[in-house]
Symmetry: C2
Subunit: 350 residues, 2 copies
């Protein structure tokens, strides 16, 4: 069932020379005569020699692969991030090993353990919604594993980070709703553990404050599993709708929450934006095709992936330990749809 790969030994044997010579010839060392080099190169060609990356990894003590931990691939934002990661890694000859936490802390730990046992050279991670304690990451980091965090970060680890300007995004989305005349703006957010939750809610609150709206705690609902469990969103929406002061707009803080919220509203027969407006973070390509076309905050996902990977490779390939860390903050983009247009205005559009 196994096919025998051709090694430098085979070339050496075929040519009657030593493996060291073959190795050096292939690496174009100066101490090999041009003739021998050519001989080796030709022989390697005809035998279809491929260097064994595993032997190389063992020798050089690096695997030329990086680990990626995200909560879900089947999520527009993360799959776009991965595209960014891949594009850079591929160019630099690095292998990308992707694993999903499925928003589970336990699973994240397993992934991390798995990746480190696979001896990846570095790690890109966006924390799971359940993750509160990051001592497992700390441990890896202190052992010297280069780590770059993106999107859902933690400042308990001193390293490079790449995030969207969550505060600004949420601020602008809320401001947008206010300017459109909405008065009672609710928020459905992720787990309180997550950095994005804190930052986005802060932007939301700040916008309310700036425009003289007062913050209502009952208007903010948290979905611990970030929408992985659908009933969570249903419950959040239900609670908002049973308030005496029913909100007239909702802002959601992540992809899954946004589409999940819309799904709940649609299934309950609540009209958007006539009954309630909706604006949310989402990187779905289908936002404009939804009913109604959604006003979304789109993160520069691909770019985030690229940036994070560049920073990681920089960390990996640096000779001396790096102590100055960078936090890149990219701007999200507010893309207008119809889900945030109050009824009178809507007539004008249609």
């Amino acid at each position: 069932m196994k096919f025998e790969a051709v090694t430098i030994k085979d070339i050496a044997k075929a040519l009657g020379i030593s493996t060291s010579t073959v190795s050096r010839a292939l690496r174009d060392s100066y101490e090999i005569s041009p003739e021998t080099k050519q001989l080796v190169l030709d022989c390697a060609e005809t035998l279809n020699y491929r260097p064994n990356p595993i032997a190389l990894s063992l020798k050089e003590r690096r695997s030329r692969s990086i680990g990626v931990v995200v909560c879900e691939i089947a999520n527009s934002f993360f799959s776009q991030v991965i595209n960014g990661i891949e594009s850079i890694a591929y160019d630099k000859g690095y292998n990308v090993i992707i694993s999903q936490s499925h928003e589970s802390y336990e699973r994240e730990m397993m992934d991390l353990h798995y990746l480190s046992s696979r001896s990846v050279d570095g790690l890109l991670i966006s924390l799971s919604t359940e993750t509160n304690d990051i001592s497992h990451l700390q441990a890896l980091h202190q052992k010297g594993l280069p780590i770059v965090m993106f999107d859902r970060i933690s400042d308990e680890i001193q390293t490079h980070c790449v995030v969207a300007d969550n505060f600004k995004g949420a601020y602008e989305a809320t401001e947008h709703l206010i300017q459109r005349g909405y008065k009672k703006i609710a928020a459905i957010a992720n787990s309180e553990f997550l950095s994005i939750t804190t930052e986005r809610l802060a932007g939301y609150k700040e916008a309310l404050h700036t425009y003289g709206h007062k913050y209502n705690n009952a208007y903010v609902k948290h979905c611990f599993y970030g929408g992985m469990v659908f009933s969570e969103i249903e419950e959040a929406v239900n609670k908002l709708f049973t308030l005496k002061q029913r909100p007239d707009a909702i802002i959601t803080t992540s992809d899954k929450l946004t589409t999940g919220c819309l799904k709940t509203l649609v299934r309950r027969g609540i009209r958007v934006p006539e009954d309630i407006a909706l604006v949310g973070f989402s990187n779905s390509d289908l936002a404009e095709l939804l009913n109604p076309p959604l006003t979304v905050l789109r993160q520069p996902a691909m770019e985030m992936g690229r940036d994070a990977t560049e920073l990681l490779l920089q960390l990996i390939e640096s000779k001396r330990p790096i102590t100055q860390f960078e936090k890149r903050v990219l701007s999200p983009e507010l893309i207008l749809g119809h889900s945030s247009v109050p009824q009178p205005d809507l007539q004008l559009i249609k």
Copy 2:
């Protein structure tokens, strides 16, 4: 920048015994005394020993990793397949390396070369839309690399396959449109190279034939890049709309084509299903939220991934060469939306 991992040598040195003893103790060999075993185990524990998988791979000549080649991760169908693949691989201790062809033949070749040089133990692949010649795959297969194909397969390679019942799916979708009263049903399909194209169009034609509709060649448009190039879809739609006998329904044969087609129609201000009906293959979770809610053919993606992985691991772990190959055919599911409901019926629904 590198952290020194603890090896069996360290344990051996610490305990004053040989590495072979340590190795055997860790593997719970019968020829090691219980006391020594305990000693080694304890020592490994305190030193936080982790076996080096690279050294193991080199020794055992297997990497315990499988390669996956799909055209795009950011595609509901494929990300769901990957979830299925991952779930099985993870259980069996296999690593999954994902790479994307982005529907490019050249890129697929590079991916394959990369994966094989990475010495994966097996390969799961769904061909790119450009792929016409599969001699590169043949070569790998003949060298003994276990391969399982899924979704977009080729019967030029004798191996396990996992596919949806494309014929039946397309037949049922077309039948559905016919029964709803549509008379002029067009199809927007993928590259003619792809197995799914042939099979799905065959189902489409068969349904037309069964119900006495005659097949019109002008009603079938191919998108060579399967919707990766958006203009392709626009062009296909435009051509259909310039026909003297304008079609009253469209069936699309893949996820990207389905949503791309809807996007084109929406942007052109064409109403669905009032002006034209739409049914397509899609695994998007958002189908029901679209405007209009889409009637889709949903493939059992997760299950396909799981099945394919099981078959692959079976191939990999088999002692003797396998000559009997299996082709698993799973049923897609027709999920009704509003995009395939003629106008009068639509009144009733609303």
